[in-house]
Assembly symmetry: C2
Homo-oligomer: 702 residues x 2
């Protein structure tokens, strides 16, 4: 049971883990990658979300900017929309492409990974083996009166939380709540009256909420009965919870008479199935990593929370294959060991706290807090990547999974969580999946998903070996000869030792051979010989373990947009998305002072020069004021602006404006273009550029 107080959780919001959360089962080692509901575990005093400049963040304001500027939009809106599906418009799409590009450079190229692009359509057999067909499900509850469908755990949670809030109201404990929001919440849950609860009931509710992630369907059904939870809109008794598999089913080919395939719920399986070929491609050299960027699909029961919980989403996943022996060292760990991370460890969570600690990864690995070097190395690389994107380091933490969140075979698992107006959101997971996936696929298909390695030093093994005289065995046992042989093969070293003594003593041994004769077979020393001998093994065969960093690109994009957003001093209506130049959708806006025809050749020449040097740019030659045009582009996150004015016509000089400072410099076209290029490539900062080029004070365009 978790001890942290559910009353203080920021919100009732929660979401399925991205991809690799695993749950331990008492007997079946099944990977369950979407199941576990992870809540935003916020500390009691966690501040509410803020903008880049520390202003309180109003989610309504930023969402309105993002939709108005077409970063994203609900899919099929003119057909009434489809919940949990979103389209990216031009700026969202460019941002996504830039983030993917950076990811590819940061991981695939820099780490020399083997990128693959596998199909989304997946035959049933594959996902049966991986465990998804049987276990990748959530529990849903139907209101028989209205036909509404609820996620059972969400419903229990919402109702209990509403009752606890009402209890607090009744006790006069409510402090600083947004009344409108609270009223809305209460309205949603019909059965909530302002009513004081018994202390024992409060405790029971709190304990239930703390464990809400871990109930089975039957247990959820029992809770619904026990706590008298009814259909929220009808008050009707609910049907018992039913498992709903989260994979989209479909039919591949014309001959299937029933669904025989699924859309993949993760990109990982395609990588595992190609393991053998990738190892061969890598010239049998270990360790190595594969990587994949592509869409995955989850049929959420009741999607909400905008881009954070969607039915179709872009993932970027790495499967780093490593020898399980030798402590899972990483050759470049030395380079990163001084890097500091903000960690929220398992023990702290168990003690009911969310207090993080800042430690170097070297220390974290050496104390065993982070299980091994490879896992630690990737935590650092994940942090590097997120910071390059512009993620606010004070809103990033690594949370360790608790024992009950992991499969029994998993060594360790950490999530990179980003703080947003929805609380702490899991955006990247980094799990040690051990040898699970390769093992189950190998067992099922017989494909040798293993590494065979020549031993640096041959391994000498001393062992009891059994020799059978096959020439005599055949005629004596006929059709049973093979069964006898197999029984001998299967003998453990302990038994062999014992039998060798029997043989020495009595000249014969007794063998358990179920199905042959009486079930016991006697072999004399004419047929069998047992000796202790040395054997030399030149090749080692092993199933690699897998360290899996897995990125939810859509969640990262949304969190990033919250982190870089702010409003101009004194004007709440003037939003700015302060993307770093490297990932900004457009790098520079070209603004001719007016639609005067004299400006046109300058604009044309500039766009073609910028295109040649690969700097994405846009022209705004609309009749709006320059201030308005820049304001629009602040919302689009364009970091730079170039104004073409009458001075340009006279002497060819241009002004360059920086988005965040709204300061401008003025210089020749060549100097401005060179400065822009070096800003976009990250070779110079604005501070440096604004020091070496003359400031333009003529008209500050904010």
């Amino acid at each position: 049971m978790l001890a942290w107080n559910p009353l203080f959780r920021a919100k009732p919001f929660q979401f399925s883990t991205l991809s690799h959360t695993v749950r331990s089962f008492s007997c079946t080692p099944i990977v369950l990658r979407a199941q576990v509901v992870k809540r935003s575990k916020s500390s009691p005093n966690m501040a509410t979300a803020t903008t880049k400049k520390g202003q309180p963040l109003d989610r309504g304001v930023i969402e309105s900017v993002l939709r108005r500027r077409l970063f994203y939009t609900p899919s099929f809106e003119i057909y009434g929309g489809e919940r949990g599906l979103f389209d990216y418009g031009p700026p969202g799409c460019a941002l996504q492409a830039n983030v993917v590009d950076l990811w590819r450079k940061h991981f695939v190229l820099e780490e020399d990974m083997l990128e693959v692009d596998c199909t989304m359509l997946t035959p049933e057999a594959v996902l049966k083996t991986s465990g998804h067909v049987d276990k990748f499900a959530d529990w849903m509850c139907k209101d028989p009166k209205s036909g509404e469908i609820f996620r059972a755990d969400h419903l229990v949670e919402q109702v209990l939380e509403a009752r606890l809030r009402a209890d607090k109201d009744a006790r006069g404990m409510t402090i600083e709540v947004d009344e409108a929001k609270e009223a809305k919440k209460k309205k949603k849950i019909k059965d909530t009256k302002i009513e004081k609860l018994d202390d024992a009931v409060v405790q029971e509710y709190e304990e239930t909420l703390a464990k809400i992630d871990n109930y089975s369907g039957d247990e959820l059904g029992d809770l619904i009965k026990k706590f008298n939870i009814k259909g929220p809109t009808t008050g009707a008794e609910l049907d018992p919870p039913k498992a709903f598999n989260l994979m989209f089913q479909t039919q591949i080919g014309p001959s299937a008479d029933k669904p025989n395939g699924y859309l993949r719920p993760e990109t990982a399986q395609g990588q595992f199935l190609n393991f053998q070929k990738l190892l061969e491609f890598n010239q049998q050299s270990m360790p190595f990593a594969s990587a994949s960027i592509g869409k995955s699909f989850r049929n959420e029961i009741s999607p909400r929370s905008g881009l954070l919980r969607v039915r179709e989403f872009l993932m970027a996943e790495i499967e780093h294959f490593v020898d399980p022996e030798g402590g899972k060292k990483h050759p470049r760990f030395e380079d990163v060991k001084e890097t500091k991370l903000t960690l929220l460890n398992r023990k702290v969570q168990l003690s009911g706290s969310t207090k993080t600690e800042v430690v170097t990864i070297g220390e974290a690995v050496s104390t065993g807090l982070v299980d091994n070097e490879t896992l630690g190395y990737f935590l650092v690389r994940i942090q590097d990547f997120l910071l390059k994107l512009g993620i606010d380091p004070s809103k990033l933490r690594f949370r360790q999974h608790m024992a009950n969140e992991m499969a029994h075979y998993a060594a360790d698992c950490w999530d990179a969580e980003l703080f947003t107006s929805y609380g702490w959101i899991e955006c990247v997971g980094c799990a040690d999946r051990s040898a699970y996936d390769l093992t189950v696929h190998m067992n099922k298909t017989g494909a040798p998903l293993v590494v065979r390695q020549t031993r640096a030093e041959p391994l000498v093994i001393e062992e009891f070996q059994v020799d059978l005289d096959r020439k005599k065995l055949g005629p004596k046992f006929r059709k049973d000869a093979k069964a006898v042989e197999n029984a001998v093969e299967a003998l453990s070293q302990e038994l062999r030792e014992k039998l060798s003594l029997d043989l020495e003593k009595s000249g014969k041994i007794e063998l358990q051979t179920p199905g042959v004769g009486s079930g016991t077979t006697e072999l004399g020393s004419d047929l069998v010989k047992i000796e202790k001998r040395k054997r030399t093994e030149y090749t080692r065969e092993y199933t690699p373990n897998v360290i899996e960093p897995s990125f939810g690109i859509g969640r990262i994009l949304y969190s990033l947009m919250e982190h870089v957003f702010y409003t101009r001093e004194g004007d709440l209506a003037r939003g700015v998305l302060s993307f770093p130049p490297m990932i900004a959708p457009t790098k520079v806006l070209l603004v001719p002072l007016s639609s005067h025809p004299d400006f046109k050749p300058f604009v044309k020449k500039l766009t073609s020069r910028l295109r040649r040097i690969g700097v994405p740019n846009k022209v705004d030659d609309s009749s709006a004021s320059i201030g308005k045009r820049y304001a629009r582009n602040d919302e689009l996150g364009t970091p730079f602006g170039i104004t073409i004015d009458f001075q340009t016509i006279k002497d060819g000089s241009l002004t360059l404006r920086e988005r965040d400072s709204t300061k401008q410099v003025r210089a020749s076209e060549d100097d401005i273009i060179a400065a822009l290029k070096s800003l976009v490539d990250g070779e110079e900062t604005w501070e440096q550029v604004s020091k070496r080029l003359p400031a333009f004070e003529g008209q500050e365009v904010d």
Copy 2:
């Protein structure tokens, strides 16, 4: 009927059009985007496929290279594979990423297009409106004995072609055929005996084959009976053809009790549905184009031909929205009008020939061969893109669709076809889809998918207007008042003119009002007034037309790999993929002479320098000979190699090798890196570099 002789078609191979082939229907203007089977229309003397160096191309050889080097591989192979699904391995994946990147630069950035990323999951209602639910189907035939399923048109075609070949054999006409291949073909079709046919039968078969693309299911069924076509493996009578919808169906959300959605068969619909928002984003300015890169899905009945006919494929589609008035001019047409294209026009095809002509696009548009400037502009841009990739210009042609391949509303349609060992393959389509899609979605949803434009000069319209005295109309007609009003609204100008005369003459008019009273309603001049008046229209409203260039990335990749492939002089086993540096998966291979530890620091320094300047590189420090290591990388298409040898340790100099010439230069590290960067960026050619840097003759590494 098509007049070209089907006997001379290169192969029985054919494939569904990429995405935008449309077929005319006598009464329903339904877009049918996968249906039409287009064959490789080769000229009788069409040479067989060749390598880049003009060697005869053996498909087996190149496929073995591509699979061995993991450019692609059948998906789920350890589970027995799934037909029509392929994974890209590391080099294929990098090649694909580079091609997509170039596409984005060439089209989205250079043309300032609005890229969107829409979901693949699509609700049924959308695809019902677009026509896909009802019409996006192929005809399939089942062998009731074996359960095998065939595509009906493919089957008829294969059998008739086999019989015609047998007839030719019997007539002693067979010339220069690969006997092994022919034998294999014959074996496939059980009922083929070497048998001379009547001349009339030959003619009937030929005519049937010429029209094979255009038969309905019933007609195909009739042909199967008439020509006595049986199950190829069983000889059994086949079931009648049934329509098989090519879309993958699925269930979105937990409450649907039957499939309610599909995987998109094209990316276009998502773009159309967002038209209004994109127009707004573009500040109401026309023309503009949206673009989208993403996977689409088609449940092929019987996929074959490797990467050319697959069930899941990457598309890149552009929807260029243009005012239908004013001849669909393009502002940058002037810049491209002198560009020459190889065109195979509709008339030539109708005359039974496949003779192409090389003309400038300016001429083609001015003579009306290509319908309009915008279409012409995109044909040039498509050609530019393909040539940048390394497509052999002599294996590229633009084929115009024949009238019966297009929907009745389409103005014109051209396919960029690439010649490969499978014949001419449609890889890019460029169609004028008119206003069809926006119109049907607007009619269905009521969303105003139109452009509203302030007229430069207000339009004054003189027209008959009808005034009704509604105050009197209501009490008089009660529940029928609305119907009467609607009948008046619907009156044409002609009728209004006639009725105004009636009113003047008799003081009343007679109105057809079906369903109201006797069906005719009389209105007196107390109720109605008709006058000719002037009305001024300040705004023009129109539905844009759409020009759609649509790229099958997988088909382009495969054709490209055939075009750039060759084998080293005198050694058929030494394959080379001669990708241009810009799109090569890896740009440079670093080869230390041996595994001597002294080389390691040089390799490390070099990789980190190359990484910093963004040049993807690989190290091969295996123990294989340098020649072997380069040979491996020739197959991977790596254009450059750097050798680190003992001279490097002495003076820091390196050798740089070029893949195609196998020539080397030797210079300082700085010079080599600078040369490499300029080669990869396309700023210098190898010829230029090899002239200015000293040749290295020490050891030619081929």
